[in-house]
Amino acid sequence: MIDGMKIVALVLFFLSFFTAPVAYAQVSATPFLNQLQIVTDPLYPSPQSEIGVNLNDYGLAGAGGTIEWVVDGVRRSDLHNKRSFTITTGATGVPMVLEAMITPANGPRMTARNTISPTYLDLIIEAQTRVPGFYLGRALPSIGSAVNVTALINGTAVSPRDLLFRWQMNETALLGGPVQGQNQVTFTMPQGGATLGVVVERVGGGVIASKNIFLQNAEQTVRFYEVNSLYGMAKRSAERLSLIGNSTTVRAEPFHLDIRTYNNPDIATWSSSAITLSQGTNPYEATIVRQAGLTGVGAVGFHVRNENQILQGSQASLQVSY
């Protein structure tokens, strides 16, 4: 029995010599394992985008040899002897096959191959911060606010439910590690911003796409708008106001304030100089009242803040001529 096993081991050992060169030629995009590699920049390109292609010859076996390129089965004479060039990828999901053949001065021909499957990996950022109802733009993340991120992948036939998502925010792995089908994640914006990254892999292995972005904390601002009791809020914000009638109502609208702070502010105060203010039940609204017989210029201020997260807050002032 032991002799039989020795024979099997010897056969397998000799077989590996025949299969190794074949495997050696079929390179993947994983570095450090193969000496001849075709590497793209970016590593996981998007469709219809210009990418850089580099032929990495770590073993220097091809030094002094000629380099021929074949793109999608077509020999490219314009890329003769080039180790790097730029090329435009195809449409979504349409693969591009790159082959490089090095014929050294002394030695056998070597071939490297890389198949690019251009894929869109979009990270859609949605912050849980407050913007007014008329605002057509997107709410931005600010310090301490919750941020929802959705990864949308286009260009692979694999359903997101069958993909592994590995999320990372700064140095922290979110969700404890790769999770199948988890293309959405929520985190709290730290001070100094967040570097968010995601790697999308097949369950059986093989990275499809990856992306890293930097999110900075948005500055929270307050803008003032005149309010008409019938027609609602003006569409242009005011930095200066001329009091024509006896009174006017203004609303202070914070932008990108954490929605929890907006709904329950520790500080939401109005201040005025040389102006009479009256307030109702809405802490973000005040009525400026003309004082009879007086003319001049005054100022109205508004301050909103979360006392537990002192950087969540803003203040602004409005000049009023009366």
């Binding site: 950022i125 008329f134 057509l136 733009g137 997107r138 293309n183 959405q184 242009r236």
Partner: protein, 398 residues
């Protein structure tokens, strides 16, 4: 004796003068002789006071008239407008422009031939902010609520009686429009964003698509079955991406960037985004996959494709620099534009630009164009001036 008569006569005269004085003090100075005489009953055929005929005021005030014929570019309303549509009640009727007033939801009609404006519906829908009408004018959708979250009122309009009959509808509305075929397309925000259609004729609801993200803007197609386009709400701080929605599926377009927005039809997509620190606008041909540079800034709020000729685009655009922070600063109302109207003609490889009108020169006012539309015959452009929400028109046939 003679002396007595004189004194008596003088006393009587004094008493008469005193009585006259007292009368005039309490009853005022008569303006006309006729006003004096009846009080004394001195004239009249039968000695009775003369009756002054009372002229009854007319009960019908003349209709307010909108000048629809003076210039190609004209302001149609001073009332702020929540939404409008050129309607044709029947094939033989005169086109009318229906609009809903902000805040009240009252509906008015402007006869585009005579300029007469009438109030079609006085039903008040408080805090009306946006509206749309069906092409026959029979239905109106009004979103109300000055704060976040709009409730919807769908009404069936009887133009002859002014009655607005509410159609049962409970969903909250995001982006919406009514198609030419009489279907309401709308988004329903919840944990995700769902696109739905509500048939105004048979009052059934159907889900068209569900988006995995909520802060999205939809550019609706002309019909329910057309391609609709979606993108995350624009901001210069975050990247946006364009998608086409067909049969409930989301397909990524090769268009993306910071400050990204788009609008499109079945063959062309117009997009605006930040590229290397400057905003660029391009047209993307969905068939040939070519990108065509746009000579003016394309914003979905300020542009519209032709209804008959799909390769024509009209845009309100300004050549002034956007400044740092665009488009966020425009959405907050911090900056505004003084827009001109341009017509862009597209071929498969190029675009050509024609200036239609310089609004500042024509009107002396800054007009910040939003909600630009062209009528079905491509003879009129309509838009709202963001500065005061007034409704304007431009006659393309001149």
């Amino acid at each position: 004796m003679k002396k007595t008569f004189i004194i008596a006569g003088a006393v009587i005269l004094v008493l008469m003068l005193a009585g006259l004085w007292i009368y005039m003090m309490f009853f005022g100075t008569p303006r006309t002789v006729e006003e004096v005489l009846p009080d004394f009953a001195l004239w009249g055929e039968d000695g009775m006071p003369v009756q002054i005929p009372v002229i009854a005021p007319t009960t019908t005030a003349p209709l307010p008239m909108v000048n629809v014929n003076e210039k190609a570019l004209r302001q149609l309303t001073t009332r702020p407008v929540a939404g409008y549509r050129e309607v044709l009640k029947s094939a033989s009727s005169t086109p009318e422009l229906y609009y809903a007033e902000v805040g009240t939801g009252h509906i008015y009609s402007i006869n585009l031939e005579t300029g007469a404006e009438v109030r079609v519906s006085g039903t008040t829908i408080p805090e009306a902010v946006r509206a749309d009408f069906s092409s026959d004018g029979r239905h109106v959708v009004i979103a109300s609520g000055f704060s976040q979250g709009h409730t919807a009122t769908i009404g069936e309009l009887d133009a002859s009686t002014g009655a607005l009959t509410e159609v049962p509808f409970t969903d909250t509305l995001g982006d919406f429009r009514i198609t030419e075929g009489g279907d309401l397309l709308y988004t329903h925000p919840s944990n995700t964003l769902t696109g739905k259609t509500f048939s105004l004729s048979n009052r059934t609801t159907r889900t068209l698509f569900t988006l995995p993200f909520r802060d999205a803007t939809i550019s609706w197609g002309e019909r329910v079955t057309d391609t609709h386009f979606v993108y995350p709400r624009p901001t210069m701080e975050l990247e946006g991406f364009g998608y086409a929605i067909n049969n409930g599926g989301l397909t990524r377009l090769p268009l993306s960037g910071f400050g990204f927005s788009l609008f499109g039809n079945e063959s062309l997509v117009g997009a605006n985004f930040l590229d290397k620190n400057d905003f660029v606008s391009v047209f993307y041909n969905r068939s040939t996959r070519n990108l065509i540079s746009s000579p003016v800034r394309l914003l979905p709020e300020k542009c519209t494709f032709g209804t008959k000729n799909k390769t024509i685009v009209w845009c309100g655009a300004s050549l002034q620099a956007t400044g740092f922070g665009f488009p966020d600063t425009w959405y907050t109302g911090e900056v505004g534009f003084s827009d001109d109207i341009y017509e862009i003609s597209l071929t498969s490889t190029s675009s050509s630009l024609t200036l239609i009108t310089d609004t500042l020169i024509e009107t002396g006012r800054e007009v910040d164009i939003v909600d630009l539309r062209v009528n079905p015959t491509e003879t009129q452009l309509y838009f709202i001036n963001k500065n005061d929400s007034s409704l304007w028109a431009y006659d393309l046939s001149r």
